[in-house]
Symmetry: C2
Subunit: 280 residues, 2 copies
Amino acid sequence: MSPPKVPDGATRGWIVPIGGGEQKEHDPVILERFVQLCGGRDARIMVIPTASRLADTGERYKRIFTELSAGEVRVVDFDTRRDAGEAGRLEEIAECDGIFLTGGNQLRLATLLGGTGVARLLRERNANGVHIAGTSAGASFLSEHMIAFGEDGVTPHAGSVTLAPGLGLTNRVVIDQHFTQRNRLGRLITALAFNPFLIGLGLDEDTAAFIGPDQTVEVEGSGTLTVVDAAKLKFSSMDQAGPNDSVSMLGLTMHVLVRGATFNLHTRHASAGALAVTKE
Amino acid sequence: MSPPKVPDGATRGWIVPIGGGEQKEHDPVILERFVQLCGGRDARIMVIPTASRLADTGERYKRIFTELSAGEVRVVDFDTRRDAGEAGRLEEIAECDGIFLTGGNQLRLATLLGGTGVARLLRERNANGVHIAGTSAGASFLSEHMIAFGEDGVTPHAGSVTLAPGLGLTNRVVIDQHFTQRNRLGRLITALAFNPFLIGLGLDEDTAAFIGPDQTVEVEGSGTLTVVDAAKLKFSSMDQAGPNDSVSMLGLTMHVLVRGATFNLHTRHASAGALAVTKE
């Protein structure tokens, strides 16, 4: 699933991966910004808790978004692939301003929604201006190339990451979450070692990448966003590495960004500049 | 790398994955059809032997295509990522009617060409009508989601396949080669278990899938093309499977096709009908 075509005259909605563990009550800057982006008191937000196996995940986010004064919050869950083709639920998705994918397991999202009407509609809605955020597993799922699972550690080795197709709202990045907390640099770099066209985004907990329609990433929250850019890579040994071998990569570019910093996915230019004005 | 946009008025070139071991001297129907597709005696064919580490792979295919009366055959190889940005070599690619990627190791193609000017140009040329074929490793590389490596066997288990980003001429399929010969059904099904939007193409040796601009796949050669379609999948257990666990999938559709049969990637309709007329 490659990024959907944005129709003439339309502007793509924002894509907002969050590294998990975002503040929900005390100073919830990320969720608050998402509500504002979707229209604040007019915002109709749809929560999809499908990644989670906990019964109250959807209701919990409904309460949080309601406390943040969103106009209307609904929860739509999908337990089977048949659910993901049901007309009534698709209509609810068609009518919102923002969609929020909770954490859990990204392979629940991919196996339940991949190739269904829900996946098609999410892509089509984003191309037409609906903002889509995801936290933890929900963040991983947003991109075309998704980290399904992997091993912790700082340095890359060939078998440390398993990629799978994701939702495909963007194809420029591969997203990892709980980045500092779970020591995931090695597996993110490994993901780039296969094919260096990707840009790696490593999101700490309580940290979000607000990816605007102009391909500028704006960092929000209390942690760091680690950007690994392989555009100038001179060499990758992935083609010669066995599953347990370390991988050699020469010429990676890395940026560690905090709130207010930006990175442009098109020009690959990083800036430490002030937080850009929220576009609504 | 998602499929490049086809400009208004242009027609995408054919995409031709071959399962490896294609006949080269006695009755080379696949290579012959590729030459005809590219213009026969007027065809300018570019051979890229980068997947291979053997010194004579490029020259061998040059000889074969010349014997098949192609108008002009050149070999361009890339040993480093720097080579893949060199203007002279890019110009040669820009001027041909057909491009042929040899076998070897698909991760040599992805690590050397991914994110370089060569990858961009191959995508752009295909969108503008240049036909691109690949055999064995060259076949695997053609699609957006590529099988990097995996294990043999008939049934799926979670750790049996490693996906990586490929060239991305098409994003609808995941391609496997030497399919019957190396017993690869299990890993192809596993690839679909992650995200059922993919269509699996399992190509036997001496067998090719000629994928036309209208998304119809035409089978050529002496073996079978196995199509695994997960569009009607009811359930995948991949989200619950550990690395060595078997994976459950309910509702896969499978077609085994021989020369003359077709499968439409858009409608997902298979036909045993007569070999379609070669379009030039």
